[in-house]
């Protein structure tokens, strides 16, 4: 640090500024477009700051597509998937972290391998299975898929959190004659609470943002989730629609941005704990 001279420091600031521009400009352009009136969007010399900012695009976006309905669908799917995922993943993560038996090993292997699946290989059979169960175009079918889809990362994060809990308390509980399940429920799970909340939030964002499964499994606009409805805006493209498209896209990002800001540090920690020890 003492050896870093002034010109090197200046170069670092220039580089940092370049990164800031690269990272920020698409997002700023989205916001700018969302607040521009139609005639400004049609202008041949677009500006960064809307001269005449308006909320019309937001109003028009809600008129053009069932955005509220879609947000509701997304909320139901993401919330259910996140809750179910952590409820079933936490005990399994506990066993994976504390045991070295065959099930734990196989589960760890599955977590790693599942990252390499091309989803098309899994979506065709799932589509056929869900069709036979009459669960196509149903949020229930989508939620089932989302639960399993978010499990690998949830398990990965949770195993990291379990490993951070000292084993002494569990040994004490075992000495007192508590069963495995009892030890897990009353000793380990409460200590894991912050990690479980972070994992649930991450699973929520993943499902809220998901597009491919929703595109394949949901057929009618009344059932479709926000990303699929957003994609329908593009289908009806034309210069006049850029504003509402930007407005809707901007709104769809806000929930995940807020949640991400809250859990950002924990995700990094969980990821690392999983990655380093896996």
């Amino acid at each position: 640090m003492m050896r870093t001279n002034k010109s090197a420091r200046a170069a670092q600031y220039v580089a940092l500024a370049a990164y800031l521009v690269f990272l920020a400009f698409p997002f700023l352009w989205l916001i700018s477009t969302a607040f521009k009136p139609a005639q400004e969007l049609g202008s041949l010399h677009p500006t960064w700051i809307p001269k005449d900012p308006t909320l019309d695009n937001f109003r028009q976006a809600f008129d053009e597509q069932p955005l509220l309905r879609a947000a509701g669908n997304s909320l139901i799917a993401a919330l259910s998937a996140a809750l179910i995922a952590v409820v079933i993943a936490t005990p399994m993560a506990y066993v994976m972290a504390r045991h070295r038996n065959r099930v734990a090993k196989a589960a760890t292997g599955w977590v790693v391998i599942s990252q390499a699946f091309p989803f098309v290989l899994i979506i065709i059979p799932l589509f056929l299975i869900l069709k036979n169960l009459h669960l196509i175009n149903s949020l229930l079918g989508l939620i089932m898929v989302y639960v399993v889809w978010s499990l690998p990362f949830a398990l990965w994060m949770l195993v990291g959190y379990v490993r951070a809990v000292p084993t002494e308390l569990e040994e004490a509980a075992a000495v007192d004659g508590a069963s495995k399940v009892r030890t897990f429920v009353s000793v380990v799970a409460p200590l894991l609470a912050p990690g479980i909340v972070a994992t649930a939030m991450f699973a929520f964002i993943t499902a809220w943002n998901e597009f491919f499964f929703a595109l394949v499994l949901l057929k009618t606009p009344e059932k479709q989730t926000l990303p699929v409805i957003l994609n329908r805006f593009i289908g009806t493209e034309g210069v006049a629609d850029l504003g509402p498209l930007a407005a809707a896209a901007f709104l769809a990002t806000i929930p995940s941005l807020v949640i991400f800001a809250i859990i950002q540090k924990r995700i990094t920690g969980g990821m690392l704990a999983g990655a380093v020890k896996a």
Partner: protein, 307 residues
Amino acid sequence: MTLATATKRSARGKPGRGVADHGAWFLVLPALIPILVLSVGPLLYGIALAFTDSQSGRTEPTQWVGALNFQDLLHDTLFWDSFRIGLLWAFGVTVPQFFLALGLALLLNQPLRMRWLARALAIIPWAMPEVVVGIMWRLVYHPDAGVLNQTLSNLGLGDGKDWLTGTATALFAVIVVGIWAGMPQTTVALLAGLQNTPRELHEAAAMDGAGAWRRFRTVTWPAIKPIALAITALNFIWNFNSFALVYVLTQGGPGGRTRLPMLFAYEEAFRYGQFGYAAAMGCVMVAVISVILAVYLVGRLKGGDEA
């Protein structure tokens, strides 16, 4: 009391080693059943479908056709075009992204002002739905209303292009978006690795008169190498298998110039109803990815021996 503890412990054995602990099953089953039914099962079913003539909406029963789908795939130049595009895209995104992310991580590890802002911004693409990222960049690339052409013409660098619809520029344009969208995960992972690097080593190396590059090569790189290799391998696989971003940006156009294998397989399965054929494509993708993964794992194990 000590005796009791000892007995209890030996009764439990080494943690989990071959002990018939039914409690553990209770804890595992709630997740294991959905995994088997909705992930492992469908995966095997999908592989089986690759050897059938399964189609959507057909009345005759599905039949085994052996390796016929794979034989057809071998001669399907459109598929191999998309495969080549998939590899180009995966390399084109993963490699520059790694170096950009490494640079950003090194900067964020320095005591610079505005570092918090860069950290916050670096997270945004991660939290955004891929569909929104795609829409956002369509707005940036828009021929008339987009900021890119406007900026270029302001700088006197020509009067702009139809980036996403031009055959020469489309793949390049989507690769830039891919780099942007995946920067955060890579940066955060590398930054975490940097922060685990012992500071004393750095200082010792500096005292010995090692320059910045030598310090990076001898201290920093060995410390972050495992994470760097892991994140690069994962990025490559994720990119090769990606769908939403490019689907929203170009739908695979113009003229298939950005048709990644996943987009091709999706169309084959859900537009033309060729389930068996699309499943065979999925199998080929898995096979290639497995080879890459195996090469990487061998490399990582060897690297581990050196360290």
